[in-house]
């Protein structure tokens, strides 16, 4: 079966430099200038023109194997691909389908599920969001209460998810739901796929403190999803979800956001005329090294993934380092901005317009989502350092 658009060539036969040139040429020629370096997450209506183009070209899933319609890139080529997107300031879209759902279906899904769901993900016709967290199940995710009861050929879902990023832009959701109330926490949970247009689903956007509507509450009132939308075995959802946590950490651990922060920092420093100040140079160099070294360790973990090996608990350090580096950069931006650090939106500074607070607002929640940094430190302390629990 052909899942997506066939690739123009086997990218791995190109040298790294040649591959980089191909990607760069594509991006520079076609990416809309007005979408570069957006200060917040773009809504689908805003950036879909670019991603539909990438989909049509067969470039939407650079990390997927070719047999499933991806570009089949090796770890080093994937890194180059992501670097080039970053270099041009290309923002993510609501890409849970590519990052999570696809890989999960390749590993745990049935052939029928792959045939049904992978092609529309590759075509960006179906957009996925992640329905894990609930009001009382955040760090303690296994405490989730949303229930799914098997009733004939469907599960009936009742309950609530929250903090679901861009649910209002999504057509589908992966839902962790309790299917056995008697079992101990982790063992009674199943992994379901749900069409958000199903009757009984209510999506309510939540405004965040930066003034954006990026995440949502999602309510389920007797929502039916076909029993064939169960991924993996019944009550084995925890294993399915957990298998992707390492990849999520790698993703949040990429140098992308810190690099964006450094760019804003430099523009602010130039506008304030301190870019040559000795004290500033020293602090900048510290942060530049923090980001460069993040790139090194990111490449190390990406290579493990590229070899098809499992990521160990050490990957938590990547998530912590990336997010806290980004936060330190955002802090220095505010400090360097002086009085400008209180202004919101695009601010006229010297001869440019800079969104001074955007990195700060973006950086703060990075240590909360994707497993809070406290939880990551607990993992490192217990599972890597083997300290007593």
């Amino acid at each position: 079966m052909n899942y997506g658009v066939p690739q123009e060539q086997d990218w791995d036969t190109l040298s790294d430099a040649a591959f980089r040139a191909v990607v760069r040429a594509e991006v520079e020629a076609h990416h809309p200038a007005e979408l570069r370096y957006p200060p917040r997450r773009l809504r689908w209506a805003e950036n879909k023109s670019w991603y539909l183009r990438m989909a049509a070209k067969g470039w939407i899933a650079p990390g997927w194997p070719r047999e499933y319609g991806g570009m089949g890139l090796s770890a080093s080529k994937l890194l180059i691909f992501l670097e080039e997107m970053e270099r041009w300031g290309i923002a993510r879209f609501q890409d849970h389908g590519i990052l999570m759902v696809g890989p999960i279906l390749m590993r745990f899904g049935t052939e029928a599920q792959r045939r049904r769901y992978l092609p529309p993900i590759l075509a960006c016709e179906e957009i996925w969001c992640q329905g894990y967290s609930e009001p009382n199940a955040g760090s303690d995710l296994a405490n989730l209460r949303t229930e799914a009861k098997l009733d004939g050929d469907a599960f009936i879902i009742n309950g609530q998810k929250t903090w679901t990023t861009l649910a209002h832009d999504s057509t589908h959701m992966i839902v962790l739901a309790r299917t056995d109330k008697e079992a101990k926490k982790q063992s009674g949970i199943s992994f379901l796929m749900l069409d958000l247009k199903t009757p009984g689903v209510t999506v309510r956007p939540i405004r965040d403190l930066a003034g954006h509507d990026e995440f949502c509450e999602v309510f389920f009132d007797n929502v039916r999803t076909p029993a064939t939308n169960l991924v993996g075995k019944l009550n084995q959802g925890w294993t399915v979800a957990k298998s992707q946590l390492g990849f999520e950490r790698i993703h949040i651990g990429s140098p992308k956001l810190p690099e964006y922060g450094l760019q804003v920092l430099l523009s602010v420093a130039r506008a304030r005329g301190v870019e040559h100040d000795a004290l500033f140079r020293d602090r900048l160099a510290q942060l530049q090294l923090d980001v460069a070294h993040l790139g090194d360790i990111y490449a190390h973990f990406a290579a493990i993934v590229g070899r098809g090996e499992a990521l160990g608990p050490e990957v938590s350090l990547l998530k912590i380092w990336a997010t806290e580096t980004f936060q330190r950069i955002a802090d220095l931006i505010i400090e360097t901005a002086g009085e400008f650090g209180g202004l919101t939106g695009k601010v006229q500074m010297a001869d440019g317009r800079i969104e001074v607070l955007a990195p700060f607002y973006k950086a703060r929640p990075t240590s909360i989502y994707g497993g809070s940094n406290e939880i990551q430190r607990n993992i490192l302390a217990r599972q890597v350092l083997n300290l007593p629990g």
Partner: protein, 370 residues
């Protein structure tokens, strides 16, 4: 001023000014961004006149009273421009040398009839009042203001006291918002309030508008700025104290893994760090206010005290708010939850009148090396 007076003032401010999150949210992004009625009530309570002599309709109290009120307003996140108008602009006028203007404006400021702003920073910002970029020019015998001033708070004042460079030195002038040639461009701040970029094009001034002559202007401006810096630090203190309280409540009640999250030592130690930052701020602020109240305090000592307090308060408030957000998890990142209001106000107040870094460098340039 007696301790009793202070206590009464604090209690009345604490009773009157409680957090009304709905009001704070409703006023964001509006013009003027605060309530005139509330402002007049604040005048009725005497708060706006604490620094104004009784002869001009005020209470004739001192900085101790002003910071007491500011702290309570900081707790309640009042968007009314207390430090900007009742401290900064009011003191610049009071310490100027135009008796007639004091006679007409001070009673109206004390009663809350008018709101005033002080325009002193150039477009690039900066703490040095001598760097203001508005100039006073002579044109055919008439005197005019030219140039621009930024970060003027509140954006929608009834009038502004404008620092301008004249041939003989600095002067301060009272310019009504409606003055011909004055353009006011509001700029949105993180908490939903606005500061203004004011542009002056041949704005006419005269001896009548002159709040302070070169003989008095620089000293008046510096005194007003240092006092307002301390009152802003007090607002920050009130705000961080509430933020910490809110966070401690949350640590006690939010349960994950079958326990209150406050039972996790990783969070306990950091809560203690927040508490320490807050207490350091309280102590520093108290010491700074005492040294400014000492009749022997020189202008330079006053500036050192103001910078030391604001550097600490700005840094501590941001640190506490960031930790508070982290410890709340996602709910802290929502606009529905009041923490975000504190967080965004902390961003604004810590940046205004000089952020921690600006005050550290002013401190370094003023305080003698041991």
């Amino acid at each position: 001023m007696s301790d009793d007076t202070l206590r009464m003032l604090r209690d009345s401010a604490a009773d009157f000014a409680t957090l009304d999150g709905a009001r704070v949210r409703r006023l964001r992004g509006t013009d003027p961004g605060f309530e005139r009625d509330r402002w007049r009530e604040m005048g009725d309570m005497g708060w706006l006149g604490v620094l104004i002599p009784e002869a001009h309709g005020g209470l004739g109290l001192d900085l101790g009273a002003a910071v007491t009120i500011a702290e309570q307003l900081g707790r309640a996140l009042y968007p009314e421009p207390y430090s900007a108008s009742a401290v900064l602009a009011t003191l610049a006028l009071l310490h100027g040398d135009n008796a007639a203007l004091k006679q007409t404006l001070l009673p109206r400021l004390a009663s809350g009839e008018i709101v005033a702003g002080l325009a002193w920073q150039g477009e690039r910002g900066g703490l040095d009042p001598d760097q203001c970029s508005v100039k006073l020019r002579e044109s055919n015998g008439a005197q005019q203001l030219e140039g621009s001033s930024r970060f003027v708070s509140p954006a929608a004042a009834d009038g502004y006291i404008v620092a301008a460079r004249a041939a003989q030195g600095l002067e301060l002038h009272w310019i009504a918002r409606s003055a011909p040639g004055l353009a006011c461009e509001p700029e949105a701040r993180a908490d939903g309030s606005a500061s203004a970029l004011l542009r002056f094009e041949a704005v006419g001034v005269s001896a009548d508008t002159r709040v302070a002559s070169p003989a008095a202007a620089s000293a008046a401006l510096r005194l007003a700025l240092d006092h307002a810096t301390l009152s802003t630090s007090a607002e920050l203190f009130g705000l961080m104290d509430c933020t910490l309280e809110m966070t401690l409540d949350y640590l006690r009640t939010r349960v994950q893994f079958g326990k209150p999250i406050g039972s996790f030592q990783a969070l306990q130690h950091r809560a203690v760090d927040m508490y320490m930052q807050k207490e350091m701020t309280r102590a520093t602020l108290g010491a700074a206010v005492s040294s400014v109240l000492d009749p022997a305090c020189t202008g330079e000592q006053r500036a050192v005290a103001a910078s030391s307090a604001k550097a600490r308060a700005s840094q501590a408030a941001l640190a506490i708010c960031k930790e508070a957000l982290q410890m709340h998890g996602a709910i802290g990142y929502t606009d529905e939850y009041d923490l975000g209001l504190y967080f965004n106000r902390a961003l604004v107040l810590s940046a205004s009148l000089g952020n921690a870094s600006a005050h550290r460098s002013r401190y370094a340039s003023l305080a003698a090396l041991p």
